[in-house]
């Protein structure tokens, strides 16, 4: 147990021991603060086997008795004692594993670093703890011999320099005192403690006082690994930059124009309104798509982005054409570029000049590299039409913390780094910062003043530990704004009261279920779905007719029977818009009772359905089509694979197998017809995640999804049903039919891809029509690289617009076309359990065939538009959430695989080159990754290539990469990190 003592000091030494300074409160009052200081003699020098200090020192000493012996200038052994500026400007050097000299780190230095920059201070603390370094913190301000008092008229800097010199002198005397010459033995030459400083005046003073001092450059030159270490030296600071005390906080961003001016400006056409999109590769660049220009308006630099946050609707002013710029081709990572930014500095001292300078340097450098040819409209944000701020999932930035003691309850200002790379860091104040470290938290932005570099926000709640599945899942759902709360009572009350016991009643004229319904229970209907599918919303049948034609039917779950318009369940479904599929969780649009039971077309039970039945000629031409509500009884539920096996088994001649063969026969013809009409075969990276077991849900591996012939069978019939339904409802309700379209992409979108293909592979991409594009995509083949075609398809897909739902009365009929499917009209009808648009289509179709009357809301164009805009947004979000979930699990799988085999090495194709990196696509895992080079490499923008160590790497080149999952130190974000292993090993460059 620790002994309790009283630290006594006499009143006389109060002058030495007290520290006096003034500070200003938030209100501007000046307060005199006096702090005590207790001087002691038990502060150890940290040198092993020191006669005087070893016994008293805690923690145990770590410096070797003779210091480092490998420096040319100091053959007798030495220790370095760096001053503050060494750490402020040469931290990379000090952190290098090649810098192995034992370091004496003074408290004065440590504290000055802490005052100047918290992030650097945290790096310094990490350096002290590094295993392969010998660093001793000497608390010189507390040791009686080395403590000093500021003299009258002395600046704090001079005082600290004097303190550093005094400590150096003390060390050197201490060394000689504790190693007196032993009689009869040759006096061993003593090691020295060398003052390391770039400050000329300080060195001169040191010389006067007779202690060794040396500049960093000089010192490094005498070291063993001088050539490598010299690279790490940062350029000398521009000494003319002198920070001045700002009387007020300087304004960092221009003020917004008044609202009225903005609105009239937009009306008059000299301002443009649009959604602000941040650039995920470069935090100093964003863009706004406006109708007036084909290309989005580029915003370069903080000031022009003027506090816009991804998703805001902003008003932009476009510059003169001479000031237009090309988008950057460099990766600029906020966390890396601004890792030394200080939370509090940015608060009240306005602007640490170094950072502004740094950012401007980045921009300038980059600017010179921008290509003149690719100029696009450039402008600046002059006003915000609507902020779309919400709660963001963030992590606390560890380096911004002043105190990380768990028990600390002091209020701290910290950076919250959003998970999404599109968002700026958020400054927030919290008393619980230490306990929030390593957690996912929800933070909202409150305001962003023109004098504040970062937006200010506040903590909402903690989601849980980073990388715990619950937290990651919830954060995903929140990040993509997916409503995931359980269904409320009012909603569940809309379900049939029988619950799970509900069945189709016996056939009779009086039961409402059987009204106007066809009895198709005798048909040989089956469903084909992915394995483990619970919400079966479609089933199929086909049979030969006597006249030689073929009857084929698609039966869709009759969800609209259970979900009546405008009841709570319907409203909820409309606001959810779609079911969201995450890797290990499904967030239903409709309560599970409907989705997985009553509406699910399970085998061997009677279910209500909405059927589309065609009479097709053997050549798959539609002779006749009819729509009817029906009752069906599926004969079997197959997986794609089972259906495939059944079809391929020549011994099977039962009705089901024949039906599948017949369906397949037609599907092939339908597909051929579609392709001929110009449908695109697009690709997106799809992978499947293997779970270890159903319970643990720990992914163990990833493989690419396999596609069977039967996948395409089902797809063809669904397309056919959707197209037929679309025609029917458009005919009946030309004003309000719920349709889906895919706008043809503007040809400019393809320019870059075309250029890359031409230059790299000599291939041409014809984008004049979807058919031409499909044909030229088919020709993009590299016989040696099968993945190449897929990659081109993925890249082409990214150039396209996304498909959207629309109300037929809202747009002109010649824009109904679905580009990707090459269909003149299209809707979604076949998955009402998981998509709300399909429910609307069902209702419209039911009205169109006279089964029921159309609910008045579906006669209103505005209402349909409103519902569809929500559905469109939800749909987009659901896709992104699904993808992000896959990404997260791929990350876990890579980690799991890495643990087994030590490292994961995969082949990858380059899809984009940057001035300081590569973007690669790993097709086996379906992920993309960024490879960054810290050192500058040769970048050839014209030819889309970079040259690293004399090896040229260009877009579409095959490389091998090592994939690791590493936890970002600051954000705790699990990040897939890729390094190049061939043709060049890039690990040294990073």
């Amino acid at each position: 147990m620790s002994e309790i003592t009283i630290r006594k000091r006499s009143l006389e030494d109060a002058v030495v021991t007290q520290r006096k300074f003034f500070k200003k409160t938030a209100k501007g009052k000046i307060i005199k603060v006096i702090r005590e200081r207790y001087l002691r003699d038990d502060i150890g020098c940290g040198i092993l086997h020191c006669r005087e200090c070893s016994a008293t020192s805690s923690p145990p000493p770590c410096l070797p008795p003779d210091g480092a012996l490998d420096h040319q200038q100091f053959p007798t052994g030495h220790f370095v004692l760096p001053d503050t500026n060494v750490f402020l400007s040469q931290m990379d050097l000090m952190e290098s594993h090649l810098f192995r000299t034992p370091i004496v780190l003074l408290q004065t230095v440590l504290e000055e670093v802490r005052h100047r920059s918290l992030p650097l201070y945290n790096r310094l603390k990490a350096l002290v703890k590094m295993e392969d370094k010998q660093t001793w913190v000497f608390y010189n301000e507390f040791r009686s011999e080395t403590a000093i008092v500021r003299n009258e008229g002395e600046t704090p800097n001079d005082r600290n320099d004097r303190g550093i010199r005094k400590a150096t002198a003390w060390y050197n005397t201490h060394l000689s005192m504790t190693r007196p010459p032993i009689r009869g033995k040759q006096q061993k030459l003593l090691p020295v403690v060398v003052l390391l400083t770039d400050d000329v005046a300080n060195r001169q003073n040191a010389e006067k006082e007779g202690m060794p001092s040396v500049s960093i450059r000089q010192y490094v030159e005498g070291m063993k690994d001088a050539s490598q270490l010299a690279d790490l030296l940062s350029a000398e600071r521009d000494e003319s930059i002198e920070a001045t005390v700002a009387s007020r906080r300087p304004q960092l961003y221009p003020d917004y124009l008044p609202n009225a001016t903005v609105l009239t400006g937009i009306k008059a056409g000299h301002l443009h309104q649009g959604h602000y999109n941040a650039n995920e590769f470069n935090y100093l660049e964003g863009s706004v798509s406006v109708p007036a220009f084909a290309k989005p308006v580029l915003l370069v630099g903080r000031e022009n982005m003027n506090r816009a946050v991804h998703g805001d609707i902003v008003a932009v002013e476009v510059f003169n054409k001479t000031d237009w710029k090309a988008p950057a081709d460099e990766v600029i990572d906020q966390e890396v570029a601004l890792k030394n930014d200080d939370v509090e500095d940015s608060d009240e001292e306005g602007e640490p000049l170094g950072l502004v300078a740094e950012e401007q340097r980045i921009l300038r450098e980059e600017e010179s590299a921008r290509q003149a040819a690719e100029r696009q409209p450039t402008g600046r944000v002059v006003g915000i039409v609507k902020r779309n701020w919400r709660a963001y999932v963030c992590h606390i930035d560890r380096t911004s913390l002043t105190s990380s003691s768990k028990t600390s309850i002091s209020q701290q200002t910290v950076f919250a780094t959003p998970v999404s790379r599109l968002l700026p860091r958020i400054r927030m104040r919290t008393r619980q910062a230490p306990s929030l470290l390593g957690q996912k938290i929800l933070v909202t932005i409150d305001r962003w003043d023109s004098a504040s570099r970062y937006p200010e926000g506040h903590f909402v709640r903690a989601l849980g530990r980073v990388e715990s599945k619950e937290a990651e899942q919830e954060s995903l759902l929140l990040e993509f704004d997916v409503p995931y709360r359980p269904f409320g009572k009012a909603i569940l009350d809309c379900l049939p009261p029988e619950g799970e016991q509900w069945t189709v009643p016996l056939k009779g004229d009086d039961s409402p279920e059987w009204r106007d319904r066809e009895d198709l229970r005798d048909l040989t209907i089956c469903s084909i779905d992915p394995p483990g599918c619970q919400d079966i919303d479609d089933a199929l049948h086909a049979r030969k007719l006597l006249n030689g034609n073929i009857e084929a039917g698609v039966h869709i779950a009759d969800v609209s029977h259970f979900v009546s318009p405008e009841n709570p369940m319907d409203t909820e479904a409309a606001s959810r818009g779609t079911t969201v599929y995450l890797v290990d969780k499904r967030i239903d649009m409709l309560p599970a009772l409907l989705g997985t039971n009553l509406c699910s077309l399970r085998p061997y039970v009677e279910r209500l359905a909405f059927s589309v039945i065609w009479e097709l000629s053997p050549e798959a031409e539609i002779v006749n089509v009819r729509f009817t509500k029906s009752v069906i009884k599926s004969k079997s539920a197959f997986t794609y694979e089972e259906a495939q096996l059944r079809k391929d088994d020549p011994n099977l001649h039962d009705e089901l197998s024949e039906g599948i063969r017949l369906l397949n026969h037609i599907a092939i013809k339908l597909k051929a017809g579609r392709i001929a009409a110009g449908a695109l075969n697009l690709a997106s990276p799809e992978v499947k995640i293997h779970m270890e077991s159903a319970e643990s849900s720990d992914p163990i591996d990833v493989e690419q999804k396999q596609l069977h012939e039967t996948n395409s069978l089902v797809e063809e019939f669904m397309l056919l049903a959707n197209i037929s339904v679309a025609r029917k409802i458009q005919e009946t309700f030309p004003q309000t039919a719920v349709l889906r379209r895919h706008m043809p992409p503007p040809p400019e979108n393809f320019e870059r891809l075309q250029d890359i293909l031409r230059k790299r592979k000599g291939l041409a991409l014809d984008v004049s029509s979807s058919g031409a594009l499909a044909a030229s995509l088919d020709k993009c083949i590299d016989p040696s690289e099968p993945a190449f075609n897929t990659l081109v398809r993925i890249m082409a897909t990214r150039c396209m617009l996304s498909a959207e739902y629309f109300c037929s009365g809202s747009v002109s009929p010649d824009t109904f076309k679905h580009y990707g499917l090459a269909s003149p009209i299209y809707t979604h009808f076949t998955s009402p359990i998981r998509r709300y648009a399909d429910i609307l289509a069902h209702r419209q179709l039911a009205a169109a065939i006279g089964h029921s009357t159309l609910h008045p809301t579906l006669h209103s164009k505005q209402h349909v538009e409103r519902v569809l805009s929500v559905v469109n947004r939800r749909h987009r979000m659901a896709q992104m959430a699904g993808r992000a979930s896959v990404e997260f699990y791929v990350g876990l799988a890579v980690k799991a695989r890495g643990e087994k085999t030590a490292r994961v090495v995969e082949e990858a194709l380059v899809i984009r080159t940057f001035r300081n990196g590569l973007n690669v696509f790993v097709s086996s895992l379906g992920i993309e990754g960024l490879i960054r080079f810290k050192r500058d490499i040769d970048f050839d923008a014209e030819n889309y290539s970079v040259t690293v160590d004399d090896v040229r790497i260009a877009v579409f080149d095959k490389v091998t990469v090592r994939i690791e999952v590493e936890q970002d130190k600051n954000t705790q974000r699990g990040k897939v990190k890729m390094t190049l292993t061939s043709p060049v090993d890039s690990s040294a460059l990073q």
């Binding site: 000046i30 702090r35 001045t244 003691s405 200002t413």
Partner: protein, 279 residues
């Protein structure tokens, strides 16, 4: 000087936000070890202001308090007199310069009111009030400077002032403030440290080991409390020895001045305070 200078640090959003409470070599921000107390000064001043019967001043580091004791004397107001014992009145005055920013704290101030009631509750049972029925003991506390551990300094000063006024007590009350930082217990907190960590003030009657007061305004896990409490109690014992020595020194002065008194005391063999009433 070629060092690029940052702006002079005049202002900071939170005072001391850049102070490390306990560094890696387990030194606190002013160079103390966790369980070292600040340099205390205790002074027993005879007479003191006006007609006080006893007065004393105490300081822990930069926290400084002066206390005057009046009485036991006849109760001024009839309503407050108790027929079987003396009533204890405490009045706390926080001088304007006693805190950074010259903040005026009147009688209605929450902290002043809390200090007042804490002091009364501590001393009412410690003083042998039953010896003076219908009398009144007035304790006037002046806070001259505040740098943490305020309540404990007030208690210590009051103890000595009562001693100097010759008010009979069960024991000298001594108090120490302790806090928990991480898993380390720190003794005698400064204002900076108090703002950062959960802390408690523990006042004890060292000879009987009885606890007169435990005051805690922050939340703390119950498992941490035991250790913190124990350290504070032991520290109070250490401090009490210091206070006794001062009291004895003062007594010796008086006796020397009178050139009389029991020889035992002069030789300093008696361990207890000079004017203590033995139980």
């Amino acid at each position: 000087m070629s060092r690029p200078r940052g702006p002079t640090r005049l202002s900071k959003p939170y005072p001391g936000s850049r102070i490390e409470i306990l560094n890696d070599a387990s030194l606190r921000s002013e160079g103390r070890r966790p369980t070292e107390l600040r340099a205390p000064t205790f002074e027993v001043v005879p007479g003191g202001a006006d007609s006080a019967d006893g007065s004393a001043s105490a300081s822990m580091g930069l926290t400084s308090v002066r206390v005057e004791v009046f009485g036991p004397r006849e109760g001024r107001s009839r309503a407050q007199t108790l027929h079987d014992r003396a009533s204890v009145n405490v009045e706390v005055v926080w001088v304007a310069f006693g805190e950074a920013g010259r903040r005026r704290r009147g009688r209605g101030d929450r902290r002043v009111a809390e200090l007042t009631s804490s002091l009364r509750d501590t001393f009412q049972p410690a003083i042998l009030t039953a010896l003076y029925p219908r009398a009144q003991i007035d304790i006037h506390v002046h806070i001259l400077a505040h740098d943490g551990a305020l309540l404990s300094t007030c208690i210590n000063a009051t103890s000595l002032a009562l001693l100097s006024a010759g008010v009979p007590m069960r024991d000298l009350v001594a108090a120490v403030t302790a806090g928990v930082h991480g898993s380390t217990v720190l003794c005698d907190l400064t204002a900076l440290e108090e703002a950062d960590m959960p802390s408690a003030t523990v006042a004890v009657l060292p000879r009987s080991g009885k606890v007169a007061l435990v005051g805690m305004e922050t939340r703390l896990h119950v498992e941490r409390f035991g250790e913190m409490f124990d350290v504070a109690r032991r520290a109070a014992g250490v401090l009490c020895a210091e206070m006794r020595a001062v009291a004895r020194g003062r007594a010796r002065e008086i006796l020397d001045a009178m050139d009389s008194g029991p020889a035992v005391l002069r030789e300093g063999e008696n361990d207890s305070g000079a004017v203590m009433v033995e139980e």
